[in-house]
Symmetry: C2
């Protein structure tokens, strides 16, 4: 089962990397960018009996290792949740 | 308009960070993880007349700055594409 974890800085935390990228984009002529934040995507493939089990285990992984609960929020997306109707590569 | 960009190493490229995280998870008892890869999520908020314009501009940003085309693939997801039916924070 494939599970996607998104780990992002909490809203109040200054995102230095995002600010730097936004500034660089403005320098390249992309002045329409009003906000930009950078986080991590972690694609996990794991064996689990049910989707619920898989989600619960990945939640444990986030709490124990993948995210820093002081600074970061995480979102768990199962393959079935996503089903992007149009995603351009 | 909110646009999400996922930047990941191309499939053939060794993901050292992902391998390290997978190993650390195994050490914590998460032996069911069969594969794990780490990438970047970039949440962009930008002004654009239409969703098509927004997507095209973000595509340009990816090609010029956000992704390294030699090593990385990128995926652009518009807010409307996503609509995760269930995403646990």
């Amino acid at each position: 089962m494939k599970v996607r974890v998104l780990v992002r800085l909490k809203p109040g935390i200054l995102d230095v990397q995002g600010a730097a990228v936004k500034r660089a984009l403005a320098g390249l002529g992309f002045a329409e960018v009003t906000d930009l934040r950078v986080g991590k995507v972690i694609d996990v493939e794991l064996g689990a009996a049910t989707a619920e089990d898989g989600r619960a285990r990945v939640g444990e992984m986030c709490q124990r290792l993948l995210a820093n609960p002081v600074l970061e929020d995480y979102t768990i997306e199962m393959a079935d949740d996503l089903a992007p109707r149009r995603a351009v590569r």
